[in-house]
Every structure is written in C-alpha cells, then in structure tokens.
C-alpha cells in the first residue's frame, strides 16, 4: 500500500469500486499484471471499474487497445506466453463473442496442449447479465458457453467482498478465469474496508449465505439478492430456506451444495441464464446423481426463458424474480412429505 496511512474503517463501497481496488492492488503487487481492453484507460471503462489505473500505472500497464476482441484476447495469449498476467476487459457480455475463437481454441486448451508447459494465467472480465435496461446485446448471461469449455474457470461474485477477493484469486490463478461481473450489482454497496479487505474463500468454494432447513436455493451472481429476498419472504409462508451462493461455476463446489441438499431434502436452482442447456441443468443432474436418496422432490430450476434476451421494456417478464422462486418452492411436493412424516421442511 502506498503513502496514505492504512484505513481500516469499513465504509460503503460499491462492487465496481471493489473490483477496481482488486485490479489496483494486483497491479501494485505484481508487475506482470497488465490490464487491457476497450476504453479502460482515460475513461476508466464504461463501468468505471478501471478508473485511475492508467494514471497510476501508466498506459503500458493499463492499455486502451484497438477495438477488436479477438485481437485483445489473442494478444493476451501472447503476453501470457511471455510471462505476463493479462487481465482483459470485455466491454459487455455479448461483445466477448468475437473473442471466442481465441478463448476456445487457445486460452482454454493451451495448458493441456503443451502438457502443462504453457499455462494461461489470463483473467477475462465480463460484465454480464440483465436488469439494467440495456438495449440488444447488452444483457446476455453467457455463462453456459464458458462452462461448456473445459480448461476455463468460471467465477461470478455476488457481494462486494467477493468481488474483491475472487478477482484477486482469479488474477493470481495460473489457469484462465472467466470472471463474470453482474452488471446489475455494480452499484450495490456494502460496508467494506478497502485497505483491509476481508479474506473470502477461494475459487471453487460455495458459501451458505443464509442457513435454513426447509429447502435449498442454489444460485450465483445477480440472482443471489433475489434468492435472499425470496428466503425472507418465504418465512411468512413458514418456509425456512437455505441459500447457497455458488461463487464459482467451474470448479463446482459439489460438497457444499450436496451437504446442504442432504440437510434440506429439496433444492431449487435459480439463474438468469436460459433454462434449456443452462447451468441449472448440470447442477440439478449432479444433485440428483449424488443426493437422490435425500431428495423429497425433484430438483427444480428457475431460469430465464429460452429466448433471446428481451428488449428493456419487456425484460422484467424474463428475469427470475422473487415470485417465481417462491412459486418453485411451493411446488417442491410438500404434501407428500407430510404423508411421509418427515421432520424436514416443517411448514
């Protein structure tokens, strides 16, 4: 840390600010860390996450590139080959698509191809998801594409502390990490100490955000606040819901998820991404394979519809909200449990 005295006071900090702080601290700690992307310099990124980095570290460390996502990621591959630790910013979820060739053909498989000789310590930051009133191509939940590509870690923070902690972990990782930043939560604030950030579990660990006994809501990123609100509302119905924040889709923390589901016997997976071929399918299958005998009901999914992301004026009909989550919870076959006389999920 530079000049100023360490300020341990916790104060309201937005997720965007915490992400910026993570980049700054990573760059200060390791000269190999380079940030590159569109408008990341003078503008500080369209979401201001990289604000101040070019000024503090110079344009060679925080670089406005030509406008070409395949070029940005391809150049990052070369930089990584030469020992740097690039952090790439994709301006929006859907604008990462031109980089898929580099991502899938090189970034994800370079380690494997070279038998470990050439790792790809690249972090690809992707502002993702909807709910911000963005027009076409500004609201995609593209995590399933990344999850389907072996070799990539896929991480999605939902809290200010995780935004910082997971981004630091992503940059420190010797494997490529797709770092999904929920746009909708960029401006959400929490009390947090920038000069003494709290330790958070690393990539690959899920966290129980709310302990409960009736059923488990499994979620990540922008849907975490929705699930917490739903859990709060569910108390009025007599349900005591547990909420698991996955934090990382790859690696997937089966242990935490399954332990929770074994306790509650019921599970709902909640995400914005489409349901068909979406992350929920994989998660539900895994729970069913591993916890079948603990389940009182099929694992349900609450997801975005299987449609191209809607225009802003219609997006509220698409996004999974509290009501849809509660509706799914209500469909978890509570009646059959009463007849079975189980102790779980008392209503």
């Amino acid at each position: 840390m530079t000049a100023a005295a360490v300020d341990t006071a916790r104060k309201p900090v937005s997720m965007a600010q915490a992400l910026g702080r993570a980049l700054r601290d990573a760059m200060a700690d390791d000269p190999a860390v380079h940030v590159l992307g569109e408008d990341v310099g003078a503008l500080g990124g369209v979401f201001r996450v990289t604000d101040g980095l070019a000024k503090e570290f110079g344009e060679d460390r925080c670089t406005d590139t030509p406008l070409a996502e395949a070029g940005i990621l391809g150049a990052a591959v070369g930089m990584a080959m030469y020992g740097l630790r690039p952090v790439v910013e994709m301006q929006f979820d859907a604008f990462a698509y031109p980089a898929f060739e580099q991502l899938i053909s090189h970034v994800s498989r370079m380690r494997n191809r070279t038998r470990g000789a050439m790792p790809m310590p690249i972090t690809v930051r992707v502002p993702y998801g909807g709910g911000i009133g963005g027009v076409e191509h500004h609201s995609d939940s593209s995590e399933a594409y990344y999850m389907a590509t072996p070799g990539l870690h896929v991480v999605a923070p939902a809290t200010v502390a995780d935004a910082y902690g997971l981004l630091r972990a992503a940059i420190a990782s010797d494997d490529p990490v797709i770092f999904l930043e929920p746009k909708r939560l960029y401006w959400s604030k929490a009390d947090w100490s920038p000069d003494r950030p709290e330790q958070v579990p690393g990539i690959g660990s899920a966290v129980v955000r709310r302990a409960g006994t009736s059923a488990t809501l499994i979620t990540y990123g922008p849907s975490l606040p929705v699930c917490l609100e739903a859990a709060q509302a569910a108390t009025a119905e007599g349900w005591d819901l547990e909420v698991v924040d996955l934090r990382s889709l790859v690696p997937f923390d089966e242990e935490t998820v399954c332990a929770s589901v074994r306790r509650t016997g019921r599970a709902v997976v909640v995400h914005e991404s489409t349901g068909f071929g979406g992350p929920g399918g994989e998660i539900a299958a895994r729970i069913t394979e591993r916890c079948f005998h603990h389940l009182e009901a099929p694992v349900l999914r609450v997801a975005g519809f299987d449609i191209p992301y809607p225009p802003p004026m219609l997006e509220r009909h698409h996004l999974p909200g509290v009501d849809r989550v509660l509706d799914a919870v209500a469909r978890l076959q509570w009646e059959s449990e009463w007849t079975a006389g189980s102790e779980r999920g008392t209503r």
Binding site: G41, L43, P66, P98, V135, H138, F305, I307, P310, L314
Partner: protein, 385 residues
C-alpha cells in the same frame, strides 16, 4: 540422386519475374479529404440537389436534438447522436436507388429515416420496446447493428447474392472508425474485393470510439488507405461537406452498379455529442476540440454556399426550419405515448414454429400475468392486446 546431393551440380534458376497483381496507384486516396463547398468546383453543383441536401440536414439536426431530448425525458433508453455527422447520414440515404440496401449501425438511425423509415419505428431499438422496429424489406434497410462491423459481411453477402441473381442492387454499409479494427471489417472488405461485390463501405471517422481516439485505433496513413491492401479504391472525403460526401458516394455507387467492384470511403467528421447520453466525454476530450469542429458544422458549410450563391434566402431557410419543427413535434407527440407492449411477443418469433418448451413457458407467463391482473387490475401491460 537428387540435385542437392550432387556437389556442384546446383544451378539456381531465377524465379519468374514478380509483377504487382494490381497497380496500387489508382486505388490510393487523395492526400487531403475531398471538398466541394467553398471551392470553385461548387459552382457546377446542381442547385436542386444542394437545396435538397440542406433541407435534409436541417431536419436531420432537429431529429438528433429531439431524440436526445427524449432520452432526458426517459422516452428513449439510449441515443447515440449523429449530431455533426448529418452530412454523412443524409448523403448515404440519398445516393441509394429504390432497390438498393442500406446497412446501418446503431448511430445511423438518421440515415434510416432519411431513407424513408418512419422515425418512431427507427427508434424502436433505442426506446427499448423491441430490437428492430421495422420490416427490413420495406425500405431495404437492414436492422440497426450494434455488434461492431458485423453488418459489413452481411452487406457483402447480400450484394453478392443480388449480383448472382442478375439484379441491379448495390449495398451501402456504414461503420465507425473504431469498427474498422474489428476482424469482420477486414473479412468483409476482402470478400467484397475478391468477389467484386457491388458494395460501398462508408466509414464515418468521427474521431472517437467511445473514448478511444483514432491514433490508438490505427497506424494507417488514413482509414481510406486500408482499401489498397484489399485491392479496392479508397476515397477520403470531408464528412461535413454534404455535397462532397454525396459526390464521392455517388461515384462509388456508380462503380459498384456498373460491375467495378467495391469502394471504401472514409468520411472525416466529428462526434459533437458524447458517445451516447450515458457517456461523459469530459473524461477524454477538451471543449476546444469540440468548438473547432462546431465551426466546421455541416449545416453552416452548406448554408454559406447556398446563401453566397443566392440559392437560398432567409425565407427559404425559415421554411426548412419549420418543416423540421413539424417533424420534431410529430416525433415528440408519438414518442410521448407509451408503446403498446405484449409480453407474449417474447415467445412469438424465436422460431418459425414454437417449440413445446416455449409453448409451456408462454403459458406460464400468461398465467402469471392473469394472476397479477386479478390482484391489481389494469396495472399489467399487454393484457389489453
């Protein structure tokens, strides 16, 4: 025994004489952007065309200021203004014949409107009630395209297809300076040149890609020079000189139409407003620069020419201004009405035939909406349709 294995037996044969595949000289752009207004050559210009351009520019500017005002009133989700770039927008539309196609970007609603599109329909994307608010076939205007430069290969493909069918169709595709860095720009130009497709690429070099200035975008002598590498002519034009843009584009259209292949036109202009209403341009550019460009305003340039040559008087200008006000008032009035939304539209056009899964999801939403309507009647949009 091979030649190489016999010491002393190898006699080098000279390679065949190398020839340039095409002479690059005629492809090269002028060293300076081509200008007409204020030059002697302007005397030969058709007064009727100049007056027509002028009327369109005045209306175009008014359209831009009105749309920007609508963002402040929350009537548009976002508006990427083409204020200062109206000469390019208008000329791009006017050089097209009925059967030609326009491929606009998100910044080119004005070109689409000048082509004949209903202004409200053209703004659908930016209002946010749907993605494309018009049938592209009606005026032969492709959907306003947001993923940068991706519309360019489409223009090439369409023009190519039309030529294969023997149709007289030229495609004019618009892109920004930043967009020229994308791979799709390269691929489109290369295809167009190899296929000699009837396409005109219009790059509006407005100085910036959001915050990134041209200097960080390219090291080429000019964007027009890029054409030479593909084997097509590159033309550099003052993008605020409506007459010059019109002329250069018309020549390119003529070349394309007569089988002469594609042209890359770089129009040098300036983005007077911020990238969109959501952008803060003070972070990356100075007011002095903006003021310099304001002095080179496309409307002022044309007005000076027209009044100087007595082709337009105060009454004529006033008439154009009033026509622009009428257009703005109509736009305002129609945009101030809430669009009719039907949430069920979310499922209607995903496939030609709805899948079982989508039908199920549509039923679920319909039930949700009905339940909500029961709770608070009249508060759910879409139930009336």
């Amino acid at each position: 025994m091979t030649v190489l294995e016999q010491p002393g037996s190898y006699r080098p044969t000279p390679p065949p004489a190398w020839q340039p595949r095409t002479d690059p000289t005629p492809l090269l752009p002028d060293p300076e952007p081509f200008r007409l207004l204020g030059t002697d050559a302007a005397a030969d210009l058709d007064p009727e065309l100049l007056r027509r351009l002028y009327g369109q520019l005045v209306r175009g500017r008014r359209y831009n200021t009105q749309a920007t005002a609508l963002t402040r009133q929350g009537r548009l989700a976002v508006y990427p203004s083409s204020t200062g770039q109206e000469a390019c927008e208008v000329a791009a539309a006017l050089v097209l014949q009925e059967q030609d196609w326009l491929f606009p970007s998100y910044r080119d609603t004005l070109a689409a409107v000048a082509r004949g599109l209903d202004p409200v329909q053209a703004l659908t994307l930016l209002r946010g009630d749907w993605h494309t608010g018009y049938d592209p076939h009606e005026h032969r205007v492709a959907p306003l395209c947001t993923p940068l430069a991706t519309q360019l290969p489409h223009a090439v493909g369409l023009a190519h297809a039309a030529r294969l069918k023997g149709d007289d169709v030229v495609a004019l595709a618009m892109v920004g300076d930043g967009g020229t860095s994308e791979g799709d720009f390269h691929e489109a130009l290369n295809f167009a040149a190899v296929w000699q497709a009837p396409v005109v690429f219009l790059v509006q070099n407005n100085g910036f890609a959001i915050s990134v200035p041209l200097a960080k975008q390219t090291a080429a002598p000019s964007l027009a020079h890029k054409a030479v590498g593909y084997g097509m002519p590159g033309r550099l034009v003052d993008g605020n000189d409506a007459a010059a843009v019109h002329q250069v584009l018309s020549e390119a259209m003529r070349r394309a139409r007569s089988g002469g292949g594609p042209t890359l036109v770089e129009a040098v202009t300036y983005r007077i407003e911020a990238h969109t209403n959501a952008d803060d341009a003070t972070r990356y550019r100075t007011d002095t620069e903006v003021e310099m460009w304001r002095a080179h305003d496309p409307i002022v340039l044309l007005e000076r020419e027209l009044t100087g040559r007595k082709l337009l008087d105060e009454a004529g200008m006033e008439a154009e201004r009033q026509a622009a006000e009428r257009m703005a008032a109509d736009l305002r009035e129609r945009m101030n009405q809430d669009p009719v939304l039907d949430p069920m539209d979310l499922f209607t056009h995903v496939y030609a035939e709805q899948t079982v899964q989508l039908r199920e999801q549509a039923d679920r939403l319909r039930a949700e909406l009905a339940a909500a309507e029961e709770l608070s009647p009249g508060h759910q949009e879409g139930t009336q349709r």
